[in-house]
Symmetry: C2
Subunit: 337 residues, 2 copies
């Protein structure tokens, strides 16, 4: 009697023995591969059940050379960029798509040097079957590593300066253009912009959309007032804008957080919104609905972004060659403009 012994996980060999078949047959049953008679299949299934057997994923990974996991790496100098609810939504989408492919999600916040090194290891050691990369700054060494890695890599948003083969992005230029056009078509002519950091592709693209729309309407684009996508920098930028151009009547903020900040700065400056100054944001996060007044903004399908990234990665892992994707945006009109 081996009572009290902390019963080891049972192995495939034990299953095979109990079922009176060879390990190969047992393995075939588990992966429901062909070439197994009905009788043996059932015997194995019974044994699996009796033993409460669960295959060891590590062993399987070693044998198949597939880890069964995909990584989502969020790069950035500061881990707090991850606090942006944006990423939570991306994760929800990606997680669902990976679940369909029976892959696990590894999350890597590559903020510290150490974190960055770990991602490099991951990339070079086949520690995952594929990687999704987000929020890369200009010159982020991760971009290069990823391109060199012999592993499927999907970019979420295009990194500045690179033109990756596989990516999913949102139509930032188009969305920003829509937002600006909305302001202009409402009769605003002195429309400024609070841009996001111009060393990110998102920041640049949204600024470009603003600029395009202004020029197309025969208006002079204002030089961008730059924030880092947070509420407080949005408020600061708005204050600066107000100081420099007291007469402006419209603002396009490159995201909702900064838009909310702008609303606050305008409130503090006693400039009623939208009567005096109209504001449009970008993202359509919860904050836009909650803001006072509710923020007109450009909706982007964030969960779909995550989902499509994961799907593309799964396709890549499956040996296909999917085409890059640019997801559409749409204007959501609320009270602020």
């Amino acid at each position: 009697m081996t009572e009290g012994v902390p019963r080891r996980q049972s192995t495939l060999d034990e299953v095979a023995e109990l079922a009176g078949v060879s390990r190969s047959v047992a393995s075939r049953v588990l992966n429901n591969a062909p070439h197994v008679s009905r009788a043996k299949r059932e015997a194995v299934e019974r044994a699996v059940h009796r033993l409460g057997y669960v295959p060891n994923p590590t062993a399987r990974a070693l044998a198949t050379r597939q880890t069964g996991a995909a990584a989502l790496v969020v790069s950035g100098e500061d881990p707090s960029i991850f606090a942006d609810p944006f990423f939570a939504q991306v994760i929800v989408g990606a997680s669902a798509a990976l679940e369909d492919a029976d892959l696990h999600l590894m999350l890597c916040l590559a903020a510290s040097d150490r974190g960055r090194r770990r991602v490099e290891q991951l990339l070079r050691s086949k520690g995952a079957d594929g990687v999704m990369l987000m929020a890369l700054r200009e010159d982020d060494p991760l971009s290069r590593m990823a391109e060199e890695a012999e592993m499927p890599v999907v970019f979420g948003g295009r990194p500045v300066g690179l033109d990756p083969r596989w990516y999913v992005d949102v139509d930032n230029v188009g969305g920003a253009r829509q937002a600006t056009e909305h302001l202009i078509s409402a009769g605003r002519t002195r429309v400024a912009t609070i841009a996001g950091r111009l060393d990110t592709e998102v920041g640049r693209a949204r600024y470009r959309g603003y600029r395009d729309a202004m020029l197309a309407a025969g208006l002079d684009p204002y030089p961008p007032e730059v924030g880092d996508f947070t509420e407080s920098t949005g408020a600061a930028a708005m204050a600066a804008l107000l100081a420099r151009h007291p007469d402006l009547d419209g603002v396009f903020a490159a995201n909702d957080n900064m838009g909310a900040g702008a609303l606050r700065a305008l409130r503090e400056a006693g400039r009623p919104v939208p009567r005096d100054v109209a504001v449009v944001g970008f993202d359509d996060l919860a904050v836009a609905r909650i803001a006072d007044p509710p923020l007109t903004t450009v909706h982007q399908p964030i969960e779909a972004l995550g989902r499509e990234m994961a799907r593309m990665l799964v396709a890549l892992i499956g040996g296909q060659d999917p085409t890059p994707l640019i997801l559409p945006t749409r204007l959501v009109t609320r009270a602020s403009a």
Copy 2:
């Protein structure tokens, strides 16, 4: 010449051969274990460098029986609960602590049945070195599975009805009491509460704190108006409360989202805050600062919660027996109360 051959990942054997030592020695160098002469160590290091060798984590995992990963599972019927920025902060903390222990983070959103089954697999198959479990509802089958799993498990917040051995929680009762006391000490006597779902421990604990404070002050607690922690249910609950008790002068909302909803409902009902009705929330998320008026709320150390969960898990994995932890909360006074 093997030109053009997609150079396979190099293996430890190749490193050993190039360095002119046995595989064992090379392995020892990599794990910087003792019993390696200086000369050989350097030879191996040189070989590693020349080959760009990176150990295969899967093989290592199989040999050591350690996966090098910890899972964070967020349970819930609806994946969107994960959209709560709360989790993002937990992740930031957990991620940092795991990084220190050189563990990877696997994220499991156990919303669907399928997701739940995958978590069960994980728990039973040693697919991770340990698991952190969050947001469990009453009767969540995951709780039982986790307790039965022969794997380190740390709970984030105590699940209803269970009394797990290892957990990290926030002092929800104390925080809610503080919030309510703040309202009372400001002279409010007709203080109601918007509670969170009472089938969660958080919902219950915060209601209990409210109740305790009311009773302690000799006031009659109101029956809880229940929401599900979202802005809209908060607004609805506030409207219901207002309809039933038009004379109330204070509200404790079990979280900031619902607090923000309450503010909106009050605004729509034309009841000025805080003059007419004072509101206190719980969480101290970004929404509390952005709300109008800014929401007085109970700050909880969310990132620390994540960090401590991960640390506890690491200790457990390391064979230690850490003690459960309850993190303190503190009131943050803003304009709403």
